[in-house]
């Protein structure tokens, strides 16, 4: 991967990749691994970008797909990753941000199902229902209800009602 491509096409969207990768990993080591893999896959798949959507939307989609694939692999081969399961509480290793509330929110997001994590991340990133539906591959009519349920669950987790 040329440093030019990384600087011009990946780094400006690093925030998206970081936010998504953080939701699918529990440790810094796994996060870096996922980030690298997503960056690599963006570079390898760059010729498949058809310009039918924004580059950022494409990056969202690809990042989510790569994370879901890695998570699946991780379930099949848990010994190849540093963290296999979500710890019972936020550990030093899983603290990624100086902001404690954000750490807690991420901890709650990680307790959601894999697809729900993707949906809520896209919602928090202010993607439209149509865009979320396109990226996730579902009907936009269902997205609103789903987001409502996810938010309720997140609230319960954050309030300590659900482990």
């Amino acid at each position: 991967m040329s440093s030019d491509f990384y600087t011009s096409s990946i780094l400006p969207f690093a925030a998206i990749i970081i936010k998504i990768c953080r939701a699918y990993t529990n440790t810094q080591e796994d996060f870096e691994d996922y980030y690298q893999e997503v960056s690599l896959q963006i570079w390898k798949s760059r010729d498949n970008f058809r310009q039918q959507s924004e580059w950022s939307t494409w990056v969202y989609r690809l990042s989510l797909n790569v994370c879901l694939t890695l998570l699946k692999k991780r379930k099949n081969n848990p010994q190849h990753f540093a963290s296999d399961y979500l710890p019972a509480e936020i550990t030093e290793d899983s603290k990624a941000f100086a902001n404690e509330s954000l750490d807690q929110l991420y901890y709650a997001i990680r307790q959601l199902s894999e697809v729900d994590r993707g949906v809520i991340l896209l919602y928090l990133e202010e993607q439209s229902y149509q865009e979320i539906a396109d990226i996730i591959g579902t009907n936009p009519n269902n997205i609103g209800v789903r987001i409502k349920r996810i938010k309720e669950r997140l609230k319960k987790i954050l309030d300590g009602k659900v482990n």
């Binding site: 991967m1 491509f5 690093a14 509330s101 807690q104």
Partner: protein, 220 residues
Amino acid sequence: MEKSIETIWKEGFLQNDALVAPKLNNLYTQKSEHIVDKFTRMFKINLVAIVAGSFFFLGMSYYVEIPYMGLGMFIILNTLVLVNRSLMKGLAKIDKNVNTFQYLKSFDNWMKEQIATNEKFARVLYPFVFLSGAAGFWFGSFGGDIPGADFVNELTFHFPEMIIVFGLPLYGLIGILLVIGLLVYFGGRIYRWDFNIVYGRVLKKLEEIIADMEDLRKEA
């Protein structure tokens, strides 16, 4: 007032340290180590299985009174293991302190060398296995009747004009030589086919990683 998740999200990412991208280095280190470890582990397990199999064949062949077959298989399979153990020493010598690309290239070179050696060996192995099987059924148990000789006597009784060479019917001898010839000729290919069944996926992954890394080096 309790913050909404939207507010937590927005405020959290306002801080500069929240979105620091990790450096992209040693991109393939973990993958490479994983692939080499996986191959080495499979290779060792295979060698142990071959040794265990050779003892099993030996025991079974004595039990069913075709010991020449078991003995022949035992000798050739354990020779195969010795050859591959010697190849394994070369694998252990690969320097792990070089960069990932060089490490993978060294591993790939070792792989090509071991495949070439085993292809040559397969040209002896498969005919030897065939001959062991044939000898097992021909000679039967040690010191007992020789089923092969009885078979030839039976044949000569029914077909007295049959040509016998070295105690074997000519057509039978030609057939055996033909099978041996084919096994010598195709031994290397049979080995590749066998090797691909067991290690094909690992090998493909290795090729993909090396190809990716070569692309990366070109563009860097």
